[in-house]
């Protein structure tokens, strides 16, 4: 929205525009930006208080289940001294909110939370100015709480004060904020602000959007990656009632009045494809990574061991979805994405129209985990809608989601070290092929270290996933730390503390170990205990796990996880994220893996690709370490990194067998 449109659209009141004080919003790793995206604009958030007293906060961040909506509402409520219920958060709407690079990299809490607090703090000061003027009283005599300003016998709600006003203030990002130790709303377990809409089924996700005259679209995908369309006969499909066939180069699809008719029409298309020969498959891919690596490491005197990490899928339970509608040359798209402005850019580029002719609306979405950065479904819906002249819904199936989205990269990691006689690490060498640089650097103190990421060719489309490569790098590093501990016959906890100088790292290790009862653990047949720790994206984590192994079946029976990310913004939602990350991590640790061959995904269904379920859950003890003296960091990603190595180390403890591949027990231990 343009500034001058604000009061026209919203009525009078006061408006605070916040200038972004960061040099640039971080992309957070991976190939996440389109080449033609605009640089971040100067404004990062705005806040309006209407003449009815309703507070509306506008941010380009989005809600995908991580509870950003609630945490940011708390931030505004905190600084405004207003009830949570009086605040409405408008998120991820490209016509209404300021530009935002996207919701990823755990950046909402460290970046957007303070921005919104600054905007709210400024609005609070404006309200106090208005009250002082209205009542002709000394500003120092005013108090503000629970959405009201008072002085002696005077008292007024925000709406009463803003009535008749059209005040705008643009503030720098440096406005002062309430310190965490004085928080009254932030730092508390405010319930999910739109929880009621979700438990009643009222919330409309992108998958649920319906428009008048809307058609259902299907896209004809190639039988294998890279195949090109040689010929297409759509005559049978075109004879079906209400069906339209769309062809534009290699892009082909159908629309129909109901989803089953669309499926039947798609099946009636007769296509001939030219397919490519595959360069590798899911078994040979680890050699392929080494073979195609861009910068081979220099020779080393140390002998490394190798860890491997399989490609895995995000499996957001709401698959990608979009509804597109063209109106007088302007395109409106409802879609679930972590980057609504990135999707706007993709669409404007594809159709050769200005960005202000594309409106992307992002309803709170059925999860992403880093898997919804691109606008694939939005582009398909928009192409079909343009061709047939009606709104088109393009909801992906599970198979489409698990084939045509992108994956967490597979990788190979070579690690080697040399210890001093006292168990400290003298040399450390760590080479990651393909999976990525996040979490590459060891948080332990090492005299000499060489840590490198070697990009490789990838046979599959790969990009972000919760925690990025930090999961792979922590798996290799923390399992290898266990190998080193055993090589000098030290307790794995003692070995870590011996090499950890960072006080925050030591604190989470000790917190998890204490909660778990590491020192008092008792060995039993078929049982094992493991510990792992790490640091990434401003958060410190330590995880302990106990496994039981029966006939080769690995079950995580108990886990303790401690997490520290500075000042806690919402304890309930933080522990939910930490536990959820651990639960998700069990899948990649033990059984999730994408199988592929002949340029095809071989297990693109939930009946073929196992994700964690109720009976995979251990008893989880979660310890949140609060540091009100430190800025808040994000929490949606880093808690995932510790569980896989903790399980691997526990399996070794139970069996004496070191498993250096994720997943570690896809079909039980014997066959892994």
């Amino acid at each position: 929205m343009r500034r001058r449109d604000f009061f026209a659209a919203l009525g009078g009141g006061i408006l605070v525009l916040l200038v972004d004080d960061s040099d640039a919003q971080e992309a957070g790793g991976g190939a996440r930006r389109g080449t033609n995206e605009p640089a971040p604009t100067a404004l990062s958030a705005w806040l309006h208080i209407g003449e009815t007293g309703l507070v509306t906060v506008y941010t380009g961040k989005v809600e995908v289940g991580q509870n950003a909506r609630t945490a940011l509402t708390q931030a505004a409520a905190e600084e405004l001294r207003a009830p949570v219920e009086s605040i409405r958060m408008v998120m991820g709407d490209t016509d209404l909110t300021p530009f935002d690079m996207g919701t990823f990299g755990s950046m909402t809490t460290p970046r957007m939370n303070p921005q919104i607090r600054k905007a709210a703090a400024t609005a609070r000061e404006m309200l106090l100015d208005l009250a002082a003027e209205k009542w002709s009283v000394d500003r120092k005599s005013l108090t503000i709480s629970d959405g009201r300003v008072s002085a002696g016998s005077h008292s007024a709600g925000f709406g009463e004060l803003t009535s008749g006003q059209k005040l705008t203030r643009t503030i720098p990002g440096s406005a002062s904020l309430t310190p965490a130790k004085d928080w009254k709303v932030s730092g508390k377990s405010v319930p999910k602000v739109n929880g009621r809409e979700i438990v009643t089924g009222a919330h409309k996700y992108a998958y649920d959007v319906h428009r008048p005259e809307m058609q259902y679209g299907k896209v004809l995908y190639p039988p294998s990656y890279g195949a090109t369309l040689v010929s297409l006969d759509g005559s049978a499909a075109e004879k079906m009632p209400g069906v339209k066939v769309v062809r534009d180069g290699d892009f082909a699809g159908v629309t129909a009045p109901d989803p089953m008719a669309a499926e039947k029409a798609l099946a009636a298309l007769k296509a001939e494809w030219k397919q490519l020969t595959a360069e590798t498959d899911s078994k040979a891919v680890y050699d392929y990574f080494r073979r195609t690596a861009q910068n081979a490491p220099a020779a080393s005197a140390l002998t490394p061991v190798s860890y491997t990490i399989a490609y895995i899928a995000h499996v957001p339970l709401e698959p990608r979805a979009a509804v597109a509608e063209w109106n007088a040359g302007k395109l409106t798209v409802w879609t679930g994405t972590q980057r609504p402005f990135g999707v706007r850019s993709e669409l404007s580029t594809h159709f050769g129209i200005a960005e202000d002719q594309v409106h992307v609306i992002m309803p709170d979405t059925g999860s992403g985990y880093g898997g919804k950065h691109t606008g694939d479904a939005a582009l398909e819906a928009a192409r079909l809608a343009k061709a047939v002249g009606k709104p088109v819904k393009r909801n992906w199936t599970r198979e489409e989601e698990m084939t045509w989205a992108y994956f967490r990269p597979g990788g190979v990691i070579d690690v080697a070290a040399k210890l001093n006689p006292d168990g400290t690490i003298a040399e450390w060498e760590f080479h990651n092929y393909n999976s990525g640089p996040s979490g590459l650097s060891s948080p332990y103190s090492v005299a000499t270290k060489r840590e490198q990421h070697h990009p490789s060719k990838t046979p599959l489309r790969q990009s972000s996933y919760r925690g990025l490569a930090a999961t792979a790098n922590h798996f290799a590093r923390e399992c290898y730390m266990d190998e080193l501990a055993h090589s000098v016959k030290m307790d794995p906890l003692e070995f870590r503390l011996k090499n950890a100088q960072d006080e925050r790292l030591r604190a989470v290790i000790q917190a998890a170990a204490n909660k778990f009862g590491w020192q008092n653990r008792t060995k039993a047949a078929g049982r094992g205990f493991g510990i792992a720790a790490g640091f990434e994206k401003g958060g410190y984590v330590a995880t302990c796990a106990e496994v039981s192994i029966t006939n080769g079946v690995v079950k995580v029976v108990r886990a303790a996880i401690s997490f520290e990310c500075g000042a806690i913004v919402n304890p309930q939602h933080l522990s939910n994220q930490v536990e959820g990350a651990l639960a998700m991590g069990i899948g990649g640790a033990l059984f999730e893996q994408i199988q592929f061959g002949n340029n095809q995904i071989l297990n693109a269904r939930l009946s073929q690709y196992r994700v964690p379920r109720f009976n995979d859950m251990p008893k989880i003890d979660c310890v949140l370490v609060d540091r009100p003296d430190l800025p808040s960091a994000g929490a949606g990603e880093t808690p995932i990194v510790g569980i896989a190595p903790a399980i691997g180390n526990a399996i070794f403890d139970a069996t004496g067998k070191r498993i250096r591949s994720m997943p570690m027990a896809p079909k039980g231990l014997q066959n892994s």
Binding site: S189, V199, T200, G201, Y369, N576, L606
Partner: protein, 161 residues
């Protein structure tokens, strides 16, 4: 001789007779979502693996993605939208909110209806019975322990589920 299946013109949904005109081979999930705008039942996999599409049919939790709409003559369907009277929360809905037993919420309507079915059959389930009864439901955000706690809390309150 092949039987010509008749169009489905009426369903009993949430206590009301709903008029429609649908091919009997279509799934109940699609008809609820696309014809009746009852989008609380969610698509997650289309093969009965995730249970996000769960609705109650004659009181029994059922995967609507595998249920042909032609098979529902005379049956009573309850979706999340009809679980409690407008403006009120069912005890299981309230228990999910109290336990913060959701993140993105895509699985939540199916989870709640699955839990209602479980509690009607087994009013005081053990933890193992909850895990066993709910294991067909996937929560990709991993809120499983909180869902177990929510079901336990709803059971402990007693009352009519």
């Amino acid at each position: 001789m092949a039987t010509v299946l008749e169009r489905v013109t009426e369903l009993d949904v949430n206590g009301a007779r709903r008029r429609l005109d649908a091919d009997p081979e279509r799934t109940l999930l699609s008809v609820l979502r696309d014809d009746l705008d009852l989008t609380g039942a969610k698509f997650g996999c289309g093969e009965g693996q995730c249970a996000a599409c769960t609705v109650l049919i004659d009181g029994v939790p059922t995967r609507s993605c595998l249920t042909k709409v032609g098979s529902l003559s005379g049956k009573k369907i309850v979706t999340i939208e009809g679980l409690s009277p407008a403006g009120e929360l069912h005890p299981v809905q309230q228990a999910f909110l109290d336990a913060d037993a959701l993140q993105c919420g895509w699985c939540t309507p199916g989870m709640i209806l699955g839990a209602v079915g479980l509690l009607r059959k087994t009013p005081h389930p053990t933890e193992a019975e909850i895990v066993g009864g709910m294991n067909g439901h996937i929560c990709r955000c991993g809120t499983y322990p909180r869902i177990v706690a929510a079901i336990q809390a709803a059971a402990a309150k007693g009352g009519r589920i």
